[in-house]
């Protein structure tokens, strides 16, 4: 009896010792200090401000929620499938599909820029996963891989051993994180107000996640055509701080 209990607790300790280092990788992946260049993108926020769609903190809150819903409906299926099958063939198929799906040129370019940077960083940082470097090299030689962000985020999470529930939640988190960050730099909200807003929206983000998670990529759709159009105008802005 005592031996059994000792075995169970030893088993739990062993499981924990495998899982605990994973937390460090997960947190590093979600930390805004990871040099993936996410700070250069505003998710259409800058264009929306100049189009007079946002003029108050309430407008900002609504905007962030709409973007999160669109992230859920359009991109989570790609993150999910990539996490579940983090192999080269699946990645390339998802990359081609997303390239055909991101019809808004501004968001398409933002996705490839962020995706390329993310894979470069992940291949250098997570050296215990040599397939990251290999996949990157093969794909660079291929030539027609776009390196879109959402599938790559899913691939990296999958190869690190994260569950698809975690990777999809994480993707919503980094989207929320980056828009809020852009909002402070666009002077829509101060740093403290931004932190308060982020926490308030977290509950909505979780609801969005529940609604849109674990879907097939064939079901991917956009839910905010107006914001998509406005983001597409980013390239026409006379003066701008962000790339997208």
């Amino acid at each position: 009896m005592e031996d059994d209990q000792a075995n169970v607790s030893h088993g739990k300790e062993k499981q924990a010792s495998v899982e605990l280092p994973l937390h460090w990788s997960e947190w590093q992946l979600l930390d805004s200090i990871l040099p993936t260049g996410g700070f250069a993108h505003s998710f259409g926020l800058e264009a929306a401000i100049q189009a007079r769609l946002i003029s108050s903190p309430d407008d900002l809150r609504t905007y962030v929620i709409h973007i999160l819903e669109n992230t859920g409906s359009l991109l989570l299926p790609f993150v999910c499938t990539a996490t579940t099958s983090p192999d080269l063939e699946t990645w390339h198929k998802l990359d081609r599909m997303l390239d055909a799906t991101l019809t808004n040129e501004v968001s398409r370019k933002a996705s490839t820029a962020q995706g390329s940077a993310l894979l470069r960083v992940a291949a250098s940082v997570f050296t215990e996963v040599p397939s990251l470097k290999k996949m990157r090299e093969i794909s660079l030689n291929f030539g027609d891989v776009a390196f879109h962000h959402a599938p790559l985020f899913g691939i990296i999470c999958g190869l690190l051993g994260l569950h698809r529930g975690t990777s999809q939640r994480a993707y919503m988190f980094i989207t929320l994180r980056d828009i809020i960050s852009a909002a402070t730099r666009l002077n829509l909200v101060g740093p403290l107000g931004a932190a308060v807003l982020q926490h308030q929206i977290a509950f909505v983000a979780e609801a969005m996640l529940k609604k849109w998670k674990d879907r097939a990529v064939e079901e991917a759709c956009q839910t905010s055509p107006l914001l998509d159009t406005v983001q597409g105008c980013h390239a026409y802005l006379f003066s701008r701080l962000f790339c997208s």
Partner: protein, 201 residues
């Protein structure tokens, strides 16, 4: 809750699978001609002879739904094949109206899907648009769900353009809020546009 919604969607989609219309356009005597035309209720094709310039080789096909609109439970699907060097225009007589059936248990849900399979030198023009409703009756983005999908595939099932727009009344966000003061949304796709098209367009 989500499971039931998906089941309902899948059911609607399988209804749409059963073809309601089929058209084939081929060159006959040097002119684009409809060589096969099949339709069943609620769909009807009208193919008038004298539309567009006589110098342009293009066959015009109008799709009609009996009653001039769509009610809940309607499902329509068409398959159209356009052979090499032919030109076809597929359009509607007037804007398609969606009616809410009074006392109907099912909410107004419109699922639309268009799949275009093209080859390298195909030309394609697509116009897909939707208005927010009959404003005099106070309708402004007042429906439950609208989903329009336009997919363009190259040879070998290579995806070229995959667009799916979903407008759904939600508990957190409603459609009118997302569309703000805009009452119409339209998408125009231009693909290829080889020289024979310059006159047609």
């Amino acid at each position: 809750m989500l499971h039931t919604d998906r089941e309902r969607e899948r059911e609607m989609e399988s209804k749409i699978e059963a073809a309601t219309g089929k058209l084939v356009v081929k060159k006959v005597g040097g002119k684009s001609t409809v060589t096969r035309c099949f339709s069943k209720y609620p769909l009807k094709f009208i193919i008038p002879n004298k539309v567009g310039s006589s110098e342009t080789d293009a066959v015009w096909v109008y799709t009609l739904t009996y009653g001039g609109g769509i009610v809940s439970g309607d499902s329509i699907s068409c398959e159209i094949t356009v052979a090499d060097a032919c030109t076809a225009v597929l359009t509607t007589q007037a804007s398609t109206k969606v009616y809410k059936s009074l006392g109907s248990k099912s909410s107004e849900q419109i699922l639309e899907k268009q799949i275009f399979r093209v080859v390298l030198d195909s030309s394609l023009v697509i116009v897909d648009w939707i208005t927010s409703g009959r404003h005099e009756s106070g309708e402004k983005w007042d429906f439950e769900l609208y989903r329009s999908t336009n997919h363009i595939f190259l040879e070998g099932d290579q995806p070229l353009f995959l667009d799916s727009v979903l407008l759904e009344q939600g508990s957190i966000t409603n459609i009118a809020e997302r569309m703000q003061d805009y009452q119409v949304i339209a998408m125009v796709i231009l693909l290829g546009l080889a020289s024979p098209w310059e006159n047609a367009v």
